[in-house]
Amino acid sequence: MEQQNNHYAIETRGLNIFYGDFQAVKDISLKFERNRITAIIGPSGCGKSTVLRSFNRMNDFVPSARATGEVLYHDKNIYDPSIDPVQLRRMIGMVFQKPNPFPKSIYDNIAWGAKVNGFRGNTDDLVEETLRSAALWEEVKDDLKKSALALSGGQQQRLCIARALAVRPEIILMDEPCSALDPIATLKIEDLMRELSQNYTIIIVTHNMQQAARASDFTSFFTMDTDRAGVMVEFNETAQIFTKPKDQRTEDYITGRFG
C-alpha cells in the first residue's frame, strides 16, 4: 500500500453496514480529501461511529457485523479478501473517546506499538519525534519513565495520538476524541489536529457541533432514516454547512431544532 498521488485519502461507494438483520447505515457514498479534516456529525444512533470504524475494519471484531458496498483506499476495496486488516490498521490509525494508554511508561506506550509493527530504527528518536508531533514532548520529556496513567486526561489523549502516529499512518480516525476532556484540553487537541492535517488525513466523529465548526474543513451530516438506518444527508465545506446548509434536516439539527 504505497502512497499515491490521489486527491482522496479514502472513499466509500454505496456502503451498507449491518449488525445481524439490522441495517445500521445504508448507501453511504463519501469522499475524504487528503490532508484535510472531515467531521461526521449527527444524532446518537445515526451510524457515524459505525461508518468511522468501517474505515479500518474495526467492525470485524463485532461478530454479527457485515458490510456491503466499497471502502476504497488506494483504489482498493478494503473489504477485499487480499487486504490484511492488521496492515490496514497500521495505515489507518484510531483514537477513541476515552483515552486508553497502556498501563506502561510514557516511553513504552510509544515504543511498544512501533516495535510490534516492526520498527527497527532509533527508538529514542521515534519517541521524541512523535511526542513532539502530538504537542506533548515539552510536558513529559523529563518524565518519560513515568506511568502513562499518571498523566491528565488531555495528556493521555495526546499520548494516544502520539502512539497512533508512531506507526506512521496516513489516516487518523478520531471517535469523539474530546468528549472526556475539559475545554482547554479540547482546544489543545483541536490545535493539534490542525497541525497534524499537514501530514495526515483526519476523520473525526463528534457530538459537539461547535467542535466540528471550529476544527474541520469538511462536514458530513448523518441522520436516521424512518427505518432507523443511518443515512448521509449532506456533505459540504464546514463553513457552508454551518452558515447555509442545503437540507432542511441539516438545518434543523445544527440549529438545535431536531426532534
Binding site: F242, T243, P245, I254, T255, R257, G259
Partner: protein, 226 residues
C-alpha cells in the same frame, strides 16, 4: 421543540428592532413636518430625541452579542442575528437622516424659503412607508415582499430629480436666499438615502431566507441628476 430560550430571546430582539423602526419612522415624519410648520421647538425635540435612538441601537447590539455568545446560533439563526445587527445599524443611520432634516429647520430659522414641499412630502411618506413594510417583511423573513420593495425607489428618485431642478431654479431666481434653499438639497438627499437604506434592509431579509448576499440594484449614478 428545543431552543425555546433562543427563540424567546430572538423574538425579544426582533420586537426591539420593530420599536426602533417605529421611532425612526416617527422621527422622519416629525422632522419633515417641522419644515412645513417651521416649528423650531419641535425640530429641536426631534434633534435631541436622536440620542434615544442611538442608545436603543447600542442596547440592541449588546443584546445580539450576548445572544451570539451564549446561544451559539448556527445556520438560519446565525444569519438572522447577523442581519439584525446590520438592520440595527441601518435604522440608526436613518435616524441620523431625520435628525439632519430637523437640523435644517433649525438652521433656516424664521427666513422665508421656497422649498419643493410637495416632492419632499411625497418622498418622506413613501420612504417611511417602504421602511415600515421592509421591517415587516424582515421580521416575517418574507423574501418575496423584500424583493419587491426596492423597485419603488424609482419613484423616490423621480421626485428627487424634480425637487432638485426646482431647488436650482429657486437659487437662480432668488439668489439672496441661496444659503437657505441650499439646505433643502440636504433634505431631499437625506430622504433619497433613507430609501436606499430601506433597500439594504430588504437585502438582509433575502439573506436570512436564502443565505444569498447580493446588492439590490436600486440606484444607478445615472438615475440622479447630480
Amino acid at each position: 421543540m428545543p431552543r425555546n430560550s433562543l427563540n424567546k430571546q430572538l423574538n425579544m430582539v426582533q420586537d426591539e428592532i420593530l420599536l426602533l423602526g417605529s421611532m425612526v419612522e416617527q422621527a422622519t415624519l416629525n422632522a419633515v413636518k417641522t419644515l412645513k410648520t417651521r416649528d423650531i421647538k419641535q425640530a429641536r425635540e426631534v434633534f435631541e430625541q436622536d440620542q434615544i435612538i442611538n442608545e436603543k441601537r447600542f442596547a440592541i447590539e449588546n443584546a445580539i452579542l450576548i445572544l451570539m455568545a451564549t446561544q451559539q446560533p448556527m445556520a438560519r439563526d446565525l444569519r438572522t442575528l447577523a442581519a439584525l445587527l446590520e438592520v440595527n445599524t441601518e435604522l440608526e443611520r436613518i435616524g441620523d437622516y431625520a435628525k439632519g432634516i430637523a437640523k435644517v429647520t433649525m438652521r433656516m430659522g424664521e427666513a422665508e424659503v421656497n422649498m419643493p414641499m410637495l416632492e419632499i412630502d411625497q418622498m418622506a411618506e413613501l420612504a417611511v412607508d417602504m421602511l415600515h413594510r421592509a421591517l415587516g417583511a424582515f421580521i416575517e423573513e418574507n423574501a418575496n415582499v423584500a424583493l419587491a420593495i426596492p423597485k419603488e425607489d424609482d419613484r423616490i428618485d423621480e421626485w428627487f430629480n424634480t425637487a432638485y431642478t426646482k431647488i436650482l431654479k429657486e437659487m437662480v431666481a432668488n439668489p439672496e436666499t441661496i444659503d437657505q434653499v441650499n439646505l433643502a438639497l440636504w433634505v431631499i438627499h437625506n430622504l433619497e438615502r433613507m430609501a436606499d437604506r430601506v433597500s439594504n434592509i430588504c437585502e438582509r431579509t433575502v439573506f436570512i431566507a436564502t443565505g444569498e448576499l447580493f446588492e439590490m440594484d436600486t440606484m444607478d449614478e445615472d438615475d440622479l441628476n447630480i
